[in-house]
């Protein structure tokens, strides 16, 4: 009987081994382990055995049963895996074909630059202020120490709407307005970005509409060295830690002293090249200490309060930073231009 069981086991395992599909395995399972199968038959014949032999054979029969079942299970799982593998293989696709497109939009390069600068100054405790694009002559000029007939009004020929209203020529009126709202008492710490307009014929370097961004800090005991420190922080964050700045004298009617800020040229590292016109420096912005007339007109006592202001052109910064060669690109909205700067 023992031999019979061993033989059955060998037979069964061999058949399992030979089975090539799940159905074949099912057949083996029915044939050997089914209710009418040979092992069941052996077990039925156990009655004829002696008391001593009965448990031994019973145990052996169970072992044989289990090992066959185990072999079938393992083979079945292998066959299933193979079948799945085959099926998945058949489902394979060309992964190099393009995916279903997602429409990707992005900000205008000028917006990216403006927001970058905004965030940088917000980090230094500045607020963002906005003001009207159609300004009064008073806020655009007079409140900024540019009385009627002042020669510096020539510097920025303007689009007038009426004698008293014009398209603002700079964002400085926002400074005058903001100061005016404080009644000459509280400190002001602000950045004002916006569109400005001048009587220029549009060409590669001129645009009748462009963007300006100005900053103003008014408080007790503001020093020119503070201006230098703030601009240095700005320049390093905006253009890179390895950049140096320098201030050199200039003139604006609303600041005194007035300076222009240059940064060291990235192209040549200050050695002089065509980008920096051999000087090693690139002009970035104008700045200065707020003119006492401007403070006075806004209601601040220039003996007690002082401040600094600075202004820059995001177009120019974009042109320097990204090598944009024609200012008109910012306003024609060529989609190839717009898409190019999504990551900016």
């Amino acid at each position: 009987m023992k031999e019979r069981l061993e033989q059955l086991k060998q037979e069964a395992l061999q058949k399992v081994d030979q089975a090539t599909d799940v159905q074949g395995l099912k057949d083996v399972r029915v044939e050997y382990l089914g209710k009418k199968g040979p092992i069941t038959e052996v077990l039925r014949g156990m009655g004829k055995l002696s008391k001593e032999e009965r448990p031994v054979i019973g145990q052996l029969a169970n072992e044989v049963r289990e090992s066959i079942a185990e072999a079938i299970d393992s083979k079945q799982s292998r066959l299933e895996d193979e079948a799945l593998e085959k099926q998945l293989e058949e489902e394979s696709i060309d992964v190099t074909l393009p995916g279903r497109p997602v429409q990707v939009g992005g900000p205008h390069l000028l917006t990216s630059i403006v927001e970058e600068i905004e965030d940088l100054f917000i980090g230094m405790g500045f607020e963002i202020k906005e003001g009207p694009e159609v300004e009064t002559d008073y806020y655009n000029f007079e409140a900024l120490n540019l009385p009627k007939g002042h020669p510096a009004r020539d510097m920025q020929d303007s689009f007038y709407v009426t004698e008293e209203l014009l398209m603002r020529t700079h964002t400085s009126p926002v400074q005058a307005r903001t100061m005016g709202q404080k009644n000459g008492q509280e400190p002001v710490k602000m950045i004002c970005p916006g569109k400005v307009y001048r009587r220029d014929t549009d060409d590669a370097t001129h645009s009748h509409q462009f963007t300006q961004m100005e900053g103003l800090l008014v408080d007790k005991d503001v020093r020119m060295s503070d201006l230098k420190g703030v601009l240095n922080t700005f320049a390093k964050q905006m253009f890179g830690e390895d950049r140096d700045i320098r201030l050199r004298p200039s003139f604006f009617p609303f600041t005194e002293p007035s300076v222009e800020m240059d940064i060291s040229c990235k192209m040549c590292g200050g050695e002089g090249c065509s980008v920096c016109k051999q000087t090693g420096w690139i002009e970035i912005l104008g700045a200065g200490m707020v003119h006492p007339n401007v403070l006075e007109m806004a209601g601040y006592d220039p003996e007690e309060y002082s401040g600094f202001a600075f202004g820059m052109g995001p177009e120019r910064i974009a042109m320097l930073k990204y090598g944009v060669d024609d200012i008109r690109h910012f306003y024609t909205n060529d989609s190839r231009f717009l898409k190019q700067y999504h990551k900016a």
Binding site: S225, E260, M289
Partner: protein
């Protein structure tokens, strides 16, 4: 201002510096140097030659055959210039010479005759055409007598000079003269310079015997000085004067004119020389011009004047427009014998008015406009008289005949060292400040840390403490200021809620696949009123126009961003970029006045314009043109993002497709519109189907409520039911949905259309709409009967209100 380095070096020793170093120093202390350039391209091997003989070339009519003594030898040279003549001293490029343009001179044969070099014109030596004196424009240059054969012609002509170009800001009028530049450079390099006293010899006879001066408007003309110089001989001026004029960009003309120009450059004081014999009287009267008075100026133009202009007259007729240009009648000519020399102070505003009215900006007017040094006016006259005596053979009569109410006082400014340091953030000592003031040559009285300063009149820009603060700071050096950060109480910077919302809205559009555009606010008059949202249209009486536009393209302020956005689409489509999805958040300008007197209201709007393919996926054969619902989806997304429900009502707007346009409302207010651009307008822009939207971003911001309380996530299951209805095709799906929501409240939480069918198996004029309804009670599980009841209610309502039948 063009500064000759050779000239400057004679005024103040700058030989220790390379031109580039000097430029850097000048830039950092005060005035931006815009360039350092050679006066002419380099040339070598050019010497003075004496034309010993000059005859006709045997084989060529237009050529001469010359024997030229160049010092060590005599060369035979063939010359084609019409003005070559025996006895001249000329510039000769000897064999081996290199002229500008890398033009190498070699021995050669011309028409059979040996030519051992070239006799040069100024142009060939690199002088700018405009700076070449009239008489040498068509030929070779001829040196004056006092040069020797063999001398270096390049040096003699000052062509080895370098020109420093200064970019002057309006406050630095003082640097519009060589003297001013020398003072500035002296301060910058701590050198020394003083404008030398004039050396004028006069005869006994006073000028007042010949001329009188009368000024009618002392405010416009506080000083007028007249010098009389007799027996002048008009001819070429000395080479050094010509050279310095040329280097400064002024063309030499004759000695008299050159000398007035030379003094203009040297002192910064414009002068004018009249031919006294042609002046026509012995009295000078300066006055306001009469209305309609006419003068023919030096450039042969007839100019009509008004009382806003000041003229110099002989008592009757005008002989010059003060400070701008002389008259043709009394112009100095070759036969002029007596010079009436004017040295005057004209008020900046009067000169500015004249020069701008007549479009005449001259070396004179630009200096008067900025204000000349009152203490240098008469001195400049003396200096010119001195030079006329030396270089034009003139006899200077004694004295200056003048009218004089000129304020020559120096401005007094007091500065305290401690305040300077407080404003700059520095620790400059009083000694250093004293040193800086000495470098600037400002006179001062020091009282401990306090300085009482008299600002020289050449520096008209110094008026108050802050001006001196700048002087001290720039000479001390901005490089020497420390880097500090503001000490004041720090405030939290940040964006206002509206600024945050603006960024949020923009980010949403970008996430939805739109690119941001920035278009012009100033547009064509015709476009300014196109595609305007109805609520803007009602408010704005007419678009705001510029008083004096530069072009029709940019003459009016926009009432809608869309026309310029369509222009951007059109620009791209013309360049074969057909699939475009743009948005812009910007301002429109609304005025309620016909004739604007007040600032227009500036309203922020969010607009979009889309055309072409939307999310095409070609290899899967999926193509989708942008349509109304693509764009509406984008707008609906914004509504959802801001949690502001939008209502859409079919509407008709000019320039929009009459069947595919909706007015958008929020909170019961009209806030914008959406739809297809009218095919006629599309065509005008060269566009195919184009869809737009335009929303009042400011209104959206004001309706926005920042959600603060947490809304519980429902714990109980919702029940979903579908309903298919047959209605007349004119019934709007949105209206039915609204009815369903109303009738199903409060259990119905969401209604979505999931099918629209028209056509086969459907009665003519009818359509089928299928909705999916979501029922929910947040507090418990709904029972079937409750849902049934609500559903029944809804069916009754749509039947009643829209004649809707349940689709069988």
């Amino acid at each position: 201002m063009l500064v000759s380095l050779n000239w400057l070096n004679e005024l103040i020793d700058v030989s220790d510096y390379t031109p580039e170093e000097l430029a850097e120093i000048i830039t950092k202390t005060g005035i931006e140097v815009e360039g350092v350039d050679p006066v002419a391209e380099a040339a070598t091997g050019v010497v003075v030659g004496y034309v010993k003989s000059c005859g006709q070339h045997p084989n060529a009519d237009k050529l001469s055959l010359c024997q030229v003594d160049v010092g060590e030898e005599t060369l035979q040279i063939v010359c084609g210039a019409p003005n070559i003549a025996e006895g001249q001293k000329v510039a000769v490029a000897t064999p081996g010479a290199v002229l500008p343009g890398n033009f190498k001179i070699k021995k050669t044969k011309l028409r059979g005759e040996e030519s051992n070099g070239m006799i040069c014109s100024l142009q060939e030596l690199g002088v700018d055409e405009k700076d070449v004196p009239e008489e040498y424009k068509e030929g070779i240059f001829v040196f004056p007598e006092n040069v020797e054969p063999g001398q270096d012609a390049i040096k003699l002509l000052n062509l080895d000079d370098k020109i420093i170009e200064l970019g002057l800001t309006p406050n630095r009028a003082d640097a519009m003269s060589m003297a001013g530049v020398a003072y500035e450079v002296a301060a910058a390099i701590d050198g020394s310079y003083t404008l030398e006293e004039e050396q004028l010899d006069t005869v006994e006879e006073p000028a007042s015997n010949y001329v009188s001066v009368q000024v009618e408007d002392a405010e416009a003309n506080p000083y007028y000085g007249a010098f009389v110089i007799q027996d002048v001989q008009v001819g070429p001026s000395p080479l050094w004067i010509q050279n310095r004029l040329t280097a400064s960009g002024i063309r030499p003309i004759n000695n008299v004119v050159d000398i007035t120009n030379y003094v203009l450059l040297e002192y910064g004081q414009p002068l004018h020389a009249f031919d006294f014999d042609r002046f026509g009287s012995d009295q000078i009267v300066t006055r306001r011009a009469k209305d309609g008075e006419v003068i023919k100026t030096l450039d042969d133009q007839e100019r009509t004047l008004t009382p806003e202009h000041l003229v110099i007259t002989n008592g009757e007729e005008a002989h010059a427009i003060a400070g701008v240009m002389g008259g043709a009648k009394s112009e100095v000519q070759d036969d002029t014998k007596t010079i009436l020399l004017e040295a005057a102070y004209f008020s900046p505003s009067v000169v500015r008015q004249s020069s701008s009215d007549h479009g005449l900006r001259s070396e004179s007017s630009t200096r008067f406009e900025k204000g000349v040094d009152p203490n240098r006016v008469e001195r400049a006259g003396k200096r010119a008289a001195e030079l006329l005596q030396k270089y034009a053979g003139g006899t200077v009569l004694q004295g200056v005949v003048s009218f004089d109410e000129l304020d020559r006082s120096e401005k007094q400014v007091t500065i305290e060292t401690s305040v300077i340091n407080k404003r700059l953030g520095t620790e400059i000592s009083p000694e250093e400040i004293g040193q800086i003031l000495r470098r600037l040559q400002f006179t001062f009285v020091q009282d401990g840390e306090v300085f009482h300063i008299s600002a020289p009149t050449r520096r008209g820009d110094i008026e108050r403490f802050e001006d001196m603060l700048e002087e001290v700071a720039r000479i001390y050096g901005y490089d020497n200021l420390p880097f500090t950060l503001p000490q004041g109480a720090s405030q939290a910077g940040g964006l206002s809620l509206n600024q945050q919302l603006k960024r949020k809205i923009k980010a949403y559009f970008e996430g939805a696949g739109l690119d941001e555009t920035i278009t012009y606010s100033l547009t064509k008059e015709d476009w300014a009123t196109k595609l305007v949202s109805p609520e803007v249209e009602r408010e704005a009486v007419s678009p705001v126009g510029l008083a004096m536009p530069m072009s029709e393209e940019h003459s009016h302020l926009r009432l809608s961003q869309l026309p310029e956005m369509l222009q951007s689409l059109s620009y791209n489509v013309a360049r074969k970029q057909n699939d475009l999805a743009y948005y812009e958040v910007g301002t429109v300008f609304i005025s309620e006045e016909e004739n604007v007197t007040k600032q227009p209201r500036e309203v922020l709007r969010a607009s979009g314009a889309l055309t072409g393919q939307w999310l095409a996926h070609p290899w899967q054969q999926e193509k989708k043109e942008v349509d109304f619902f693509v764009v509406k989806g984008i707008v609906e997304g914004l509504s959802e993002l801001l949690d502001i429900p939008f209502e859409y009502e079919k509407g008709k707007l000019p320039d929009m497709h009459p069947g595919r346009t909706a007015i958008i409302k929020a909170g019961g207010k009209e806030i914008g519109f959406i739809g297809q651009v009218h095919p006629k307008l599309q065509k005008a822009f060269g566009l195919k189907e184009t869809y737009v939207f335009d929303l009042n971003a400011e209104e959206l911001m004001s309706q926005y409520e920042k959600e603060e309380a947490f809304q519980t996530i429902p714990r109980y299951p919702s029940v979903s039911r579908d309903i298919a209805l047959v209605v007349d095709e004119t019934v709007a799906a949105g209206d039915i949905a609204a009815t369903i929501e109303e009738a199903g409240a409060p259990l119905v939480k969401d209604v979505q259309v999931f099918d629209l069918y028209q056509g086969e198996h459907m009665e003519e004029g009818k359509k089928s709409l299928a909705y999916n309804l979501l029922y929910l009670d947040p507090n418990r599980t709904l029972k079937d009967e409750e849902v049934e009841a609500a559903h029944e209610n809804i069916l009754n309502a749509v039947k009643e209100q829209h004649k809707a039948e349940l689709r069988s």
